[in-house]
Symmetry: C2
Subunit: 208 residues, 2 copies
Amino acid sequence: MSVVDAAASVFCREGYAGANIDLIAAEAGVSRQTVYNHHGDKEKLFVAVVRDLTERCNAGIFATIATFPDQPADLEADLVAFAVRMNRNCICNRDGRFLRKLIQAEGERYPELFAEWREQGPGRTWSALAARFARLAFAGHLSIGDPDVAARQFFALVNAELQITFMLGGVPAEEEVLRSASNGVRTFLSAFAKKKSPAGKQAMLVHA
Amino acid sequence: MSVVDAAASVFCREGYAGANIDLIAAEAGVSRQTVYNHHGDKEKLFVAVVRDLTERCNAGIFATIATFPDQPADLEADLVAFAVRMNRNCICNRDGRFLRKLIQAEGERYPELFAEWREQGPGRTWSALAARFARLAFAGHLSIGDPDVAARQFFALVNAELQITFMLGGVPAEEEVLRSASNGVRTFLSAFAKKKSPAGKQAMLVHA
DNA sequence: ACAAATTTAGACAGTCTTGTCCAATTCGTC
DNA sequence: GACGAATTGGACAAGACTGTCTAAATTTGT
């Protein structure tokens, strides 16, 4: 395991103040001196950890958004599958859990660092996701007022039942993720499903 | 400020490991020795802080749930007002923010303590809230499948736009809270509003 | 006003951590 | 195999923190 990875693990488990460099070095399988050679001091190492996690998480999120169902065969099933993918690959995986915890625990102590995360991360991923929902709406699959609001509500709904597990740093079981996503998507579609008014146009666009 | 209140503040700001007793004593306006006389050691003090916050937060949440609109004059407006009350009095206030942060940061280190919180807190408040939604549905105001799911989704929706602010430990502005609640309730009612099939019964029950 | 209880300031030992220095060893590359 | 670069282990000083102790000061109840 690389030094940065080991540091991420220890910073998350022990907090910034509680993390000690000896433990990080041991977990990385290198000597303490090597840690200092590579990263200067504890604070620089921490910054490197957050930047690394941010980058990897963003890459994962964008890759997953690329799998958003633009031409859904079965809209409900496709959205559930998308939500589960997002959870598994971005939210519940190692990087996602670590980054979330570091933001929550140390965000206030490093305003500029986490402002950077906010721009690079949520600032970009939310609009990308909103754009996909806007496209679904434009194609006649959904009836959406504000795509940004819809994207945030989609996310909130499919994670609604996992909040407490996330709070305690746990990893929800596969079936919990699926259940939360299924319930969330059902409610989401109840609220945003295309009204059946111009049924012909809807059916046409579905198969366009 | 009491010792426990000062300790809550410092534990939240600095993390458990980073919190030092001198600072807590200074913030509480007492000597360090008094802190030790009252609470034994750092770990006992931390446990006292979490129990205190849990108790106060639960009291606030139950008090707010008691204001749930059972006989709504204007269902949408009443639910928005309820959500705003819940946010202001339980989620965004000092105790709520502190307890959330301590759970996120130290939950894994004290499994039994936070298991206790989970039983006393979410375990009871969620069913209380679900019961109120079940009552609304029974009275014909909503069309709900599973009240527990609906309660969690309601909560998720009205907080959907505040997640990032919460993550960074900030306090959303009053207008943000209102906007998130309004958007959330609108979507919630789009999904769960009573279908207009037995309109007579619905109207009758509304004024019963 | 007096006695008991509590609080206070300060000193203290013991432990831990950070970050540096250095000599010896290992590694990568030619 | 040889040479330069990187890594290692260990020692080290400086500082911080916890938890204890004690004697003096202050508050409290009566």
